[in-house]
């Protein structure tokens, strides 16, 4: 299921590029960061590692989109 979440995030980013709408990248980066935070909590709680933790790398993207979308 974790892989499913990662797939959803990637597809959302992808759709953003295809339809050329920044809102998709913005939302995808939000979900990625939330997921990364959650996976960090999981790691701290039970020690299970997930690649979702790398979602923090979406943080700059989030800031970039935020600026461009001016919200």
């Amino acid at each position: 299921m974790n892989a499913f979440v990662l797939a959803v995030i990637s597809v959302t980013f992808l759709k953003g590029f295809i339809v050329k709408k920044r809102s998709y990248g913005f939302v995808a980066s939000i979900i990625a960061v939330i997921f990364a935070f959650l996976m960090t909590l999981v790691f701290l709680a039970v020690g299970t590692f997930s690649y979702g933790i790398f979602g923090y790398f979406a943080l700059p993207a989030f800031i970039w989109y935020r600026k461009r979308l001016a919200v």
Partner: protein
């Protein structure tokens, strides 16, 4: 001085109550109803003031329970002052309620809350002019940030004014006219809500994103809460063991009965609290009504509406809060149907049963068997819902929900919501479990403390013939009987009895047993909640229906599995 707070849903009433009372308020119910009542006390300049937060409503025409409760409160309790809280972004619609309040001839103050959000959207309101038209003080506030609260307090001390408004034609037209006079909308840029809705309600991605969120909610509820669950579990078993090792029947009652029983429920407390945190986040962020829209089509196929989705999903955690969550469904028939099928959604307490039996009988296909049981529960729930709606609870569901703008939830609100709900769960489930643990303790310890010859053992043997078609031994019957209190007790009972499960049970019988445990009846705590939300009649119906379904399905499963 008694002050009633009244306004539409989503205007920030709770946040305002919080700001006015400094968080000193209690959540309860209006007498004889399940409508939530929040009440708080504050001292302003030495003056003792009682704030009563009425349910969020759009009108006072008394069509819904919430509206009736609010109206009754205004007519019977006659508060000294009404704080009419209004969402500044949506003045015209909110004024509809305001103009209905005029008839009560009670002094009023109009609170234009969330003024910051309105201004962000380019909406400017002329408060002075509005105050003149309505004849009452108008205060602009941002309750979550504490802006305007001091001014509001001063105005409260002045006592408000009885509104005088000329109604031209009807209320709707009047509201429209007033709004036209005082609201100015500037060209607004695309706001956050538009951007987020674009994606969250995307034709193809909307539902996958929803599923991703649900999965995250479950991970948070179950995985992240694990350390706390383990801690409570071990603390209680150590405590129970210590107390019951002391000599004397009283210590046995307290140790084996009370502490063990209460501990078995408290073990779920972290899960439930975490589930509530996640749900509060979804609710306060404004995402929930979007999920309703996304899932509506699928749910209508089964006679439910998008409204039923959240309670059903919560059922995977615990059916008690899930049944409580059905309150938000306006349509009574859909609400009852959702609530009745909820226990078929396999809650976390049933997992240990599957783990035990699937581990013994299907060591190579454990995960698949368990997943199938979960899916099977969902299927039975949806089919039952369809049957109920076609036979017992007929009629088209009508509903409308506003989509509020997205907001970043603030931690205080999340905490308040979570704490109140968790407390509610503890009170409800706690008292029932406490009583039942004493009963079980008695049944298993008398006339002898050997469980096989105790009342419980006798009862199990007595009832065994009923389950003879499935071929279960009396130990399993006893486990099911005990499990009626809380499903996790099934495993506990079998372990107390030292049942050699794999020697006295065939694979087909085990499969039937798992299916039966999944379906047979709501646990006592859930049943108590169903009774509170829907009445005796439906809770008895729930027991009979689920038992019949479970018995029949388990029998069929046993026969088919044996033939294969």
């Amino acid at each position: 001085m008694k002050i009633a707070m009244i306004g539409n849903p989503n205007v920030g009433k709770t946040a305002l109550l919080n700001a006015l009372t400094g968080g000193n308020f209690e959540v309860g119910n209006f007498p004889g109803t399940t409508v939530e009542k929040k009440e708080g006390k504050a001292k302003i300049d030495g003056k003792e003031i009682l704030f009563v937060d009425l349910p969020g409503i759009y009108s006072l025409e008394a069509h819904s329970l919430d509206e009736k409760v609010a109206k009754d409160f205004l007519t019977k309790e006659r508060p000294d002052l009404i704080l009419n809280i209004v969402n500044a972004s949506n003045l015209e619609r909110n004024l509809y309620l305001t103009l209905q309040l005029v008839d009560f001839k009670i002094p009023m103050i109009l609170v234009l809350n969330m003024i910051d959000e309105a201004e962000k959207r380019g909406i400017r309101i002329d408060a002075e002019r509005l105050s003149k038209i309505l004849g009452i003080p108008v205060i602009k506030t941002v309750a979550v940030k504490g802006i305007g609260i001091e001014e509001l307090k001063r105005e409260i001390l002045r006592g408000g004014k009885v509104p005088r408004v000329e109604i031209e034609g009807n209320i709707i037209k009047t509201a429209e006219k007033i709004a036209k006079k005082v609201v100015r909308v500037e060209e607004r840029r695309i706001d956050l809500t538009e951007i987020l809705d674009d994606v969250f309600m995307d034709k193809h991605l909307g539902i996958p994103i929803f599923i991703a969120f649900m999965w995250m909610m479950f991970t948070f509820t179950f995985t992240v809460a694990t350390p706390l669950t383990d801690l409570i579990d071990s603390a209680f078993s150590v405590l129970a063991e210590y107390v019951s090792s002391l000599n004397g029947i009283v210590f046995s009652l307290i140790g084996d009965g009370v502490i063990k029983g209460v501990g078995s429920v408290l073990v779920f407390l972290p899960n439930i609290a975490f589930l509530f945190v996640a749900l509060s986040l979804l609710e306060l962020s404004g995402y929930m009504p979007r999920a309703v829209y996304l899932m509506d089509k699928i749910m209508t196929t089964f006679g439910l509406t998008g409204r039923s989705v959240i309670p059903l999903i919560m059922g995977f955690g615990c059916n008690v809060p899930a049944v409580m969550a059905t309150r938000s469904i306006e349509d009574d028939r859909v609400r009852i149907a959702t609530l009745l099928v909820n226990p078929f959604i396999s809650c976390s307490a049933r997992l240990p049963i599957y783990v035990l039996f699937a581990g013994l009988f299907f060591p190579n296909a454990k995960t698949i068997v368990i997943m199938s049981l979960y899916a099977f529960g969902v299927a039975i729930a949806l089919i039952s819902a369809l049957i109920f709606r076609k036979v017992l609870l007929r009629g088209e569901a009508e509903y409308i929900i506003e989509l509020p703008p997205y907001r970043i939830p603030n931690w205080r609100d999340v905490w308040i919501l979570t704490w109140n709900r968790t407390k509610h769960f503890l009170q409800k489930a706690g008292t029932v479990i406490l009583g039942m643990s004493v009963v079980i303790w008695f049944l298993t310890n008398f006339p002898t403390s050997n469980i096989e010859s105790s009342y419980a053992g006798t009862l199990g043997k007595l009832l065994q013939p009923i389950f003879a078609p499935m071929g279960w031994d009396w130990q399993f019957v006893l486990a099911i009987l005990m499990g009626a209190v809380a499903k996790e007790v099934v495993v506990e009972t079998l372990s107390i009895l030292n049942t050699p499960i794999s020697q006295i049970m065939t694979t087909s019988q085990a499969l039937a047993f798992m299916v039966f445990s999944l379906l047979y009846m709501p646990c006592i705590a859930t049943l108590a909640t169903i009774k509170a939300e829907a009445g005796w009649k439906w809770s008895i119906f729930a027991v009979i229906y689920s038992f019949t379904v479970a018995y029949f399905v388990a029998f069929v499963v046993e026969v088919i599995a044996r033939l294969i």
